[in-house]
């Protein structure tokens, strides 16, 4: 198989086209999978319900039906809105999600663009979405939207720090910013000389893992960090004025970003697409890599959504206090200890 793929060396325009098509096919699919499996099914089970049952076998096509319904809705723009900014905002949010997918490796070669500064790139583009959210809130000419957008901006900026700082620990330990490099480092690693399961960084960076997951939860504006879209306080935040297709874009972006962050967490902490007892150079990873990564993503997503379905919403000041007084000091301590141990060993 590697021969076939190695012989296939398309010109630049064709490879770019293929990459764009792959990304734009993968992103909605991942959003659909997460929405269907977790938002509809797992959430229902946790509330002693069954979830959708009628559309498709056991209701599996419900989200597609909902998508079609969204497409049929009228595309409303409020009277006082800044029309151009209003219409562009959801696209900005979605583009930031699309860009995150560029750097995520599904195996050593199944990656859209194998960047040397992969994790840095991912964290940089994922924070672009806050610009789209601010645009949406500002352009809607609605006080709830503006409040929601400002809350989102404050929250995303506050939680960007622990997110990055939690990643720094992993980067110090792996000695590289490349996502594939981090996978290799975990697969080749050893726990006190025992190479049975490599060295998944969740063991050494457990604190970093928890900080990362908490920060991801806040970045996704999911409960218990969903103040920007708190329907009981500000009736839906920056999404208030959006209908139909544009609302669908926000929805897609939210769930695709959840999938992307779960993928990054599994690359950083769970060994990514690699299986410990199979060498990373193996050709099996063309097929096995995506499957392994998907399985790990589903585990991390389950944790994210499990927390989402369990906890009630924070208060706004508790949110900021949690970021600045708990997560950031903890992650700084984590970096310090990791650095000291790295030098010591």
């Amino acid at each position: 198989m590697s021969l076939v793929l190695a012989a296939f060396d398309p010109p630049y325009w064709l490879s770019t086209l293929i990459k764009v098509l792959v990304i734009s096919a993968v992103v909605p699919t991942t959003a659909l999978i997460l929405g269907m499996v977790f938002l509809f099914k797992v959430m229902s089970w946790m509330q002693s319900r069954l979830g959708p049952q009628e559309a498709g076998p056991r209701g599996t096509l419900q989200l597609l039906a909902d998508g079609v319904k969204f497409l049929q809705k009228e595309d409303l723009v409020p009277g006082g809105a800044d029309r151009f900014v209003f219409k562009v905002a959801p696209i900005v949010v979605l583009v930031s999600t699309l860009l995150v997918y560029v750097a995520i490796p599904a195996s050593a070669h199944l990656v859209v663009e194998d960047l040397d500064v992969g994790i840095f790139f991912v964290l940089a583009v994922s924070s672009l979405s806050v610009i789209g959210v601010l645009m949406a809130g500002w352009a809607s000419s609605n006080k709830y939207s503006l409040m929601g957008a400002l809350r989102a901006a404050g929250q995303l900026i506050a939680y960007e720090l622990p997110l990055v700082l939690a990643v720094v620990g992993v980067v110090i330990q792996a000695g590289t910013l490349s996502l594939n490099g981090i996978v290799f480092a975990q697969n080749d690693g050893a726990i006190f000389g025992w190479e049975g399961i490599g060295n998944p960084f969740i063991l050494t960076q457990l604190l970093g893992f928890f900080i990362f997951i908490a920060a991801v939860q806040a970045e996704l504006t999911q409960p218990p960090f969903d103040m920007p879209v708190a329907e009981s306080e500000i009736v839906g935040g920056y999404q208030v004025e959006y209908s139909g297709f544009r609302f669908l874009l926000f929805f897609l972006a939210e769930f695709a970003t959840a999938f992307a962050f779960a993928a990054i967490a599994s690359v950083l902490f769970l060994g990514g697409w690699a299986v410990p007892w199979l060498d990373t150079a193996s050709d099996w990873y063309y097929v096995l890599g995506p499957i392994v990564l998907f399985a790990k993503v589903m585990i991390i997503s389950f944790i994210i959504f499990w927390v989402r379905f369990t906890y009630p919403r924070f208060r706004e000041d508790q949110l900021q206090a949690f970021a600045w007084k708990v997560l950031i000091p903890l992650s700084l301590v984590n970096i310090l200890i990791t650095g000291l141990l790295k030098v010591a060993f």
Binding site: L50, T310, Y311
Partner: protein, 167 residues
């Protein structure tokens, strides 16, 4: 005292346990159109009318808080009960409508009826496509009488007799 599990972890345990319970022994909900839940005997589903008992006294229509009962009647002379007596004056019910689009199911009409003409029935499947079709006339209200359950027995030792539903 047993060591306390921190509330956050306990909460995660609750949702996870609920998920396992749902998957193992089924949900608390029922798949409504396919399987129906039996409403309790005294559930307030729809109001049934026993037309023969109604004297058009208008008490229900007057007491109804949102004016959803419409009654029209006319007087007529019924033949005397005994030979040589006077003809009796009676009310003939022309129209008795309840607009279930307005009704708030308070049950005051059933409480206030002095002649046992109105009853609660637990039937609830009478939704309509057009809102105007929720206005049930006296024949439709009369059909609900078949679904009215018997009054439940009082607890042991009660002196009062259980009322009978007129059939």
């Amino acid at each position: 005292m047993a060591p306390q599990v921190p509330g956050l972890i306990k909460g995660l345990g609750v949702t996870f346990g609920e998920m396992v319970k749902t998957l193992k022994s089924g949900p608390q909900t029922t798949l409504y159109p396919h399987e129906k839940e039996e409403p309790t005997a005294r559930a307030r589903g729809v109001i049934a009318l026993k037309e023969e008992n109604c004297t058009s006294c208008m008490l229900c229509a007057r007491e109804c808080p949102d004016w959803c009962i419409f009654i029209e009647a006319h007087k007529y002379l019924a033949p005397p009960r005994r030979e040589g007596g006077q003809p009796r004056q009676k009310n003939e019910l022309d129209r008795f409508d309840i607009d279930f689009a307005l009704c708030m199911y308070c049950g005051i009409c059933v409480e206030v009826c002095p002649f046992d003409a109105l009853f609660w029935s637990p039937e609830y499947e009478y939704s309509e496509v057009r809102i105007a079709d929720l206005l049930h006339d006296k024949s439709r209200l009369g059909q609900w009488m078949e679904t009215v359950p018997d009054f439940p027995a009082y607890e042991a030792g009660s002196e009062a007799k259980v009322k009978k539903v007129p059939r």
